[in-house]
C-alpha cells in the first residue's frame, strides 16, 4: 500500500467527516434538546450555500462576509420555521412532527428549485484554487478552511453549551422540559435559540463546503441523509457521538472510495451504520435522555 495515497485518503476523509460533523451537530442538538427530528435540516444547509452564493455574486461581498451573512440569515429562517411549525406542534406525537418536517423539507427544496433554478452553481471562494502542502498530503486551502473552521466552531459550541448560562438552560431543557420550566427557564426562548444555533451551523457547513462542490437545490437531501447517518451512528442527541461518527464515516467513505469503488462509496458508508446498529441499536454513544 502506498503511504502517500493512504495519507491523502485519510486527510480527505477527515475533511469530509468534519463537514458531516458540522451538519450532524445541529441535528443532534435539535433532537437532544427539543426531541424534534428535523428532516428539513439539510435544506438549511442548502440555503446556507445558496445565500453565500447570492450574497457573493449580487452584492459583491467577499467570501468570508458572505458566509457569515448566510449563517445569520439562515439562523433567522430557522427561528421562523420553529415559530410557524415546530413550536405549535411541540405537544404533538413525534409522527406528526416528523411528517411536518418532511413537508417543510420538500417545501424548501422545491421552492428553492423554483427560485434558484435547477442548474448547478459554483460558490466563489478565494481559497478554492490555492493548494497547501502538509508533508506528503496536498489539500486545497478551502478544504483546510472547512476543517479548521469546523474545529473552531465545534469548540465554541461545546464551550457555549458547557459554560454559558444559556447552554445550561439548554441542557436543563434536554434533561426535563417540565422541570426546567418550573425553575423559571423560558422554554420558548430555548426552542428559538436552539433552532437558531442548529440552522446557523447547517448554513455555515453549507457555506464552507459549497466552494468544494457544485451546489444545486436538491443537495439538502444529501446533507440530511449524511447528517442522520452520523447522528444515528453516534447516538441521537449525543454531540460527542456525532463527532466520532462523522469523522469515522468520512474516513471510511474515503478509504472505501479509494481502494474499493468510487461508485459504491456511499453504499459502503450506509452499510457501516447498519453493522454498528446491529451491534449497538441505539448508536455508539447513546444517551438515555439529555445532552452530552
Amino acid at each position: 500500500m502506498d503511504f502517500t495515497v493512504f495519507a491523502q485518503q485519510i486527510a480527505n476523509g477527515l475533511v469530509n467527516g468534519m463537514a458531516y460533523v458540522l451538519i450532524a451537530t445541529g441535528l443532534t442538538l435539535v433532537f437532544g434538546v427539543l426531541r424534534i427530528v428535523n428532516f428539513a435540516h439539510g435544506e438549511f444547509y442548502m440555503l446556507g450555500a445558496y445565500i453565500t452564493y447570492f450574497v457573493g455574486t449580487l452584492f459583491g461581498l467577499d467570501y468570508i462576509a458572505a458566509a457569515a451573512i448566510s449563517a445569520v440569515v439562515v439562523a433567522g429562517l430557522g427561528v421562523a420555521a420553529n415559530k410557524l411549525i415546530f413550536w405549535p406542534l411541540r405537544r404533538d406525537h413525534e409522527f406528526t412532527i416528523l411528517l411536518s418536517s418532511l413537508g417543510l423539507a420538500l417545501l424548501i427544496a422545491n421552492g428553492g428549485e423554483l427560485l434558484f433554478g435547477a442548474d448547478p452553481k459554483y460558490v466563489e471562494s478565494p481559497f478554492a484554487d490555492e493548494v497547501l502542502d502538509i508533508g506528503t498530503v496536498t489539500l486545497t486551502q478551502q478544504r483546510v478552511l472547512v476543517f479548521a473552521a469546523a474545529v473552531v466552531t465545534l469548540i465554541a459550541v461545546y464551550l457555549f453549551i458547557r459554560y454559558s448560562r444559556f447552554g445550561k438552560m439548554m441542557r436543563a431543557t434536554a434533561q426535563n422540559p417540565d422541570g426546567a420550566a418550573l425553575t423559571g427557564i423560558n422554554i420558548g426562548l430555548v426552542h428559538t435559540y436552539t433552532f437558531a444555533l442548529a440552522c446557523g451551523l447547517a448554513a455555515l457547513s453549507g457555506a464552507l463546503v459549497g466552494p468544494t462542490v457544485m451546489i444545486f437545490p436538491t443537495i439538502g437531501n444529501w446533507a440530511v441523509l449524511k447528517g442522520f447517518i452520523v447522528v444515528i451512528m453516534g447516538g441521537l442527541g449525543s454531540v460527542t457521538g456525532a463527532l466520532f461518527a462523522g469523522l469515522l464515516l468520512g474516513v471510511i467513505e474515503s478509504l472505501g472510495g479509494g481502494y474499493i469503488s468510487l461508485g459504491f462509496m456511499e453504499a459502503i458508508g450506509y452499510a457501516m451504520i447498519i453493522a454498528v446498529l446491529l451491534w449497538r441499536p441505539n448508536g455508539l454513544f447513546s444517551t438515555a435522555r439529555g445532552l452530552r
Binding site: F95, L98, L99, L102, N110, E266
Partner: protein
C-alpha cells in the same frame, strides 16, 4: 366500528361497479392511462399503509422495495426471457426477502430512528441500482421490457392493465380489511397503540412488526413489477426520494390506517399531478404544503372529513351526538 352494516355491502358493490365501468367512461387513452396510474399508486399506498397506518411506524424506504420488485421482474424478463407472469410473484418474493433482511435489522429501533434507518437502507439500494451497471444498466435504466401476459391475453394497453391492477387493489383492500378483523391485525393495532402493553399481553412485538413489514414490501414489489411491465422502461429514479415522498403524501393526505384513504389519496395525487402539469416545479411545493397542512389540520386525512360528516349527519337524525367529531384513531373507515 361497523355501525351501518346493512348499507355497507351495497355501498361497496356500488363502488366496485363504478370502478369497473370507469375505463368505458374515460373515453380516451390518456384518461385510461391516468386510471392505471391511480390504481398503481393506490396499490402501493395500501401496502405502505400497512406500515404507516397499522404498525404506526414511518418508513422512508418503501420506494426502494417498489424498485426491487420492478427491477427483479424487468431483469428476469429481458435477460433470462422469463414470462412476466412468472416474474410477478418472483418480484414479490425478492422484495419480501429484502424486506425481511432490512426489517430484521431496522425494526430493532422504533420511531425516528426507524424512519431514518429505512431512509439509509433505501439510499443503499438506490446507490447499488444506480452503480451496478452490469446488472441494472445504471442510470440508463432498462428499456424494452415486455408487457405482462396471461396466455393469449396481453396487458399491453391501459384498459386491461387497469383491470389487472384494480383486481390487485381490491384483493389487497380485502386482505387489509380481513387483517384488521383478525387476531394478527388486532396485534398490529395493539403494538401501534402501546408496544409495552402489547408485549405484556404475550404479543411478540418484533415478530408482529416484521410480519407486517414483510407483507407490505411483498405487495410493493408486485406493484413495482406491474409498473415496470406497463411503462416498459425503468430507471433508478423509481427508488428516488421523489417517489418516497409521493407515497407518503398519498397515504397521509388520504388518511392513514384506513382502506379507502390511500385509494382516495392516490386519486387526489394523480389528479393534481396531471392537472397541475403546467405549474412545473411548483407542483411539488403544493404537495409539500398539502402534506404539512394535512398533518397539522386534518390528521385523519381526507377520509376523516367524510367520517366527520357522517357522524354529524347521523347525530342530527336519531342517535345522540358522538363525543367528538375527531377522526377515530383506531383504524377509521373499515
Amino acid at each position: 366500528m361497523n355501525t351501518n352494516s346493512h348499507g355497507q355491502p351495497l355501498a361497496i358493490a356500488g363502488g366496485v361497479a363504478a370502478l369497473a365501468v370507469l375505463p368505458f367512461l374515460a373515453g380516451n387513452a390518456y384518461l385510461e392511462h391516468l386510471l392505471v396510474l391511480w390504481m398503481l399508486y393506490a396499490l402501493l399506498a395500501l401496502s405502505l399503509n400497512i406500515v404507516i397506518g397499522y404498525l404506526g411506524e414511518l418508513t422512508f424506504g418503501h420506494a426502494a422495495f417498489v424498485g426491487v420488485g420492478a427491477y427483479t421482474s424487468a431483469i428476469l424478463s429481458t435477460q433470462l426471457g422469463l414470462p412476466p407472469l412468472l416474474g410477478l410473484p418472483l418480484a414479490g418474493l425478492v422484495a419480501a426477502a429484502f424486506g425481511l433482511v432490512i426489517g430484521y435489522a431496522a425494526l430493532r429501533v422504533v420511531g425516528p430512528q426507524f424512519a431514518i434507518l429505512t431512509l439509509g437502507f433505501g439510499a443503499i439500494l438506490f446507490t447499488i441500482t444506480n452503480h451496478w451497471v452490469d446488472l441494472t444498466r445504471g442510470p440508463m435504466g432498462i428499456t424494452d421490457i415486455p408487457p405482462m401476459a396471461i396466455g393469449p391475453l396481453a396487458f399491453d394497453s391501459a384498459r386491461p392493465t387497469y383491470y389487472l391492477v384494480l383486481a390487485l387493489v381490491l384483493a389487497t383492500a380485502y386482505l387489509c380489511h380481513a387483517l384488521v378483523g383478525s387476531r394478527t391485525g388486532r396485534a398490529f393495532l395493539a403494538v401501534r397503540e402501546n408496544a409495552p402493553l402489547a408485549a405484556s399481553l404475550g404479543i411478540n412485538v418484533f415478530h408482529t412488526k416484521l410480519m407486517g413489514f414483510v407483507a407490505a414490501t411483498a405487495i410493493a414489489g408486485i406493484g413495482g413489477a406491474i409498473y415496470a411491465h406497463y411503462i416498459r422502461v425503468i430507471t433508478p429514479d423509481i427508488m428516488g426520494v421523489h417517489n418516497v415522498a409521493a407515497l407518503i403524501i398519498v397515504v397521509i393526505i388520504g388518511g392513514r390506517g384506513t382502506i379507502l384513504g390511500p385509494i382516495l389519496g392516490a386519486l387526489v395525487y394523480i389528479g393534481l399531478l396531471e392537472s397541475l402539469r403546467v405549474a412545473g416545479p411548483l407542483r411539488m411545493v403544493i404537495f409539500a404544503a398539502l402534506l404539512t397542512g394535512t398533518v397539522v389540520f386534518l390528521p385523519g386525512g381526507l377520509i376523516s372529513l367524510w367520517q366527520r360528516w357522517r357522524n354529524a349527519h347521523r347525530s342530527e337524525n336519531t342517535q345522540p351526538a358522538t363525543p367528538t367529531g375527531l377522526p377515530s384513531t383506531e383504524g377509521g373507515a373499515k
